[in-house]
Symmetry: C2
DNA sequence: CGTTTAATTGACATTATTCAACCCGGGTGG
DNA sequence: CCACCCGGGTTGAATAATGTCAATTAAACG
């Protein structure tokens, strides 16, 4: 069953619009820009490869519904998942500066996205200020996530990493209004966790078991029951600050030194 | 010895201006915006902490000369270096969306940077289009570096990681015109490499020795002699594509499928 | 020189990977 | 209804990679 009118302006990128406009009131331009640059809506099926390494990416996608992972295959046969896109995230925003994708983009659930074709970067800010602002904001957000992932991969052990990514996902989904309470349904198998966390899937199993023995959670085929978020947060040293883009920064910031 | 006139418009962010204008001719606006938003020039000394975790960052810095690392200390006493900023890079560009720094910023060499105070993000694109474009471009660039770092930390072993980061640094410095030939002088001690690569400094020693036994390089107190870049590149699976932002993407991009 | 910081080495502990076997639940076809 | 298969998931044992500790050397610097 499809959206009645896929070009209904109020439905394009609703999650993005909501997130962005939490920060500042730019609704009108952004909506307008999304409509103006929109090419088509694409339906996603689990496992569907949106883009492969080396593909030229023609514009940017805005994910409206569903989960998409961005990953890289390595010569040895390993895979690293670089990030997980949720509704409201842009995919392939690097197309503004890079002609070809350095990663694979594959859907993990059903969902939908719209393809946008923004003007080239040097005209973007003047022609599509609302979209430009949103892209900038999204890029900053993604940088924040990536930086935190670098910290995890570099300096946290398996237990901390797993706890951290669970905290992160739970928080992101909460912000989207797609999670509340104890049970989190994740379209990820343990091998996905392995490739997010830079571990083997076997070690992920063991790590889940350890967390479950600690009474922090129960995990069973995609159903994650979060019994003690406080344990997870403490273990991971999770500080949601890097996700909290919603509180506007208004202080005039006193001159330092 | 200081720059004669620190506000000479042609000298502000010369590396940034060059990098950005390789891509598209927006010199005039960018120069103008840099001048207009410039607050002061700051001299850097090695070890100087520009910003600590939790500090409110008042605007953005544009590094003009020198090396700066962005890092995070962890509860257990470990440190992860998230990225290395070189001339032409922005520091703390997250200040557009995040009031407080999630990282430490510390200089590894002498150098200088300018502090910019761009308008808030919702006015940035309209009021300072040149700067907005540059920031966007820089964010995409950083995104690319961070993603590749995630891949390294997640799925490459010590040898591959070290080889990879060396390739990356050599390439970036070449682009800046600050490196050519065999010898690379790095203001990094092995502990820095450790904290970039998510390894212990002792293991970095061992890994450097392995590379040197392979005839790929010689390393001695900051002086890196690159004898066989081909070996390093092959080992790391290094594809400079993610750094090559200089070739403009001009193809009208044939509609796919 | 003496002091300090960084690099190095070897022995050993820890963490995570690999491999192989087994389990389990949900189809599916007979 | 049962036998089979298949994709995960789980387990233990062996192995490999990396970390930790302690002692040593080297270089840098006053």
């Amino acid at each position: 069953m499809d959206t009645p009118n896929p070009f209904d302006p109020d439905r394009i990128g609703a999650d993005l619009v909501r997130k962005v406009t939490d920060q500042f009131p730019m609704l009108p331009t952004l909506r307008e820009d999304l409509q103006a640059t929109l090419r088509e809506r694409v339906r996603l099926q689990p496992g569907h490869t949106i883009l492969s390494l080396g593909d030229t990416c023609d514009g940017t996608f805005l994910l409206e519904d569903g989960w998409v992972v961005r990953s890289r295959w390595l010569p040895g046969g390993g895979r690293q998942i670089v990030n997980i896109a949720l509704p409201g995230d842009f995919l392939c925003s690097s197309s503004l500066v890079l002609a070809r994708s350095e990663y694979d983009l594959v859907a993990r659930t059903e969902g939908s996205m719209v393809r946008l074709r923004p003007p080239p970067i040097d005209k973007l800010v003047t022609e599509r200020p609302g979209l430009a602002t949103a892209l900038m904001w999204a890029a900053a957000h993604e940088n924040s996530l990536l930086s935190e992932r670098v910290v995890s991969l570099g300096r946290r052990d398996a237990l901390e990493r797993l706890a951290h990514v669970i905290c992160e996902l739970a928080t992101r989904l909460e912000h989207l209004g797609r999670h509340s309470g104890e049970v989190l349904t994740l379209p990820l198998i343990q091998e996905d966790f392995a490739d997010i966390l830079g571990l083997s899937s076997i070690h992920v199993t063991r790590t889940f078991r350890r967390l479950s023995e600690m009474g922090a959670l129960d995990y069973r085929s995609g159903r994650l029951r979060l019994k003690r978020m406080d344990i997870l947060r403490r273990l991971a040293g999770f500080d949601p600050g890097y996700l909290r883009f919603s509180q506007p920064k208004n202080e005039p910031a006193a001159p330092q030194s």
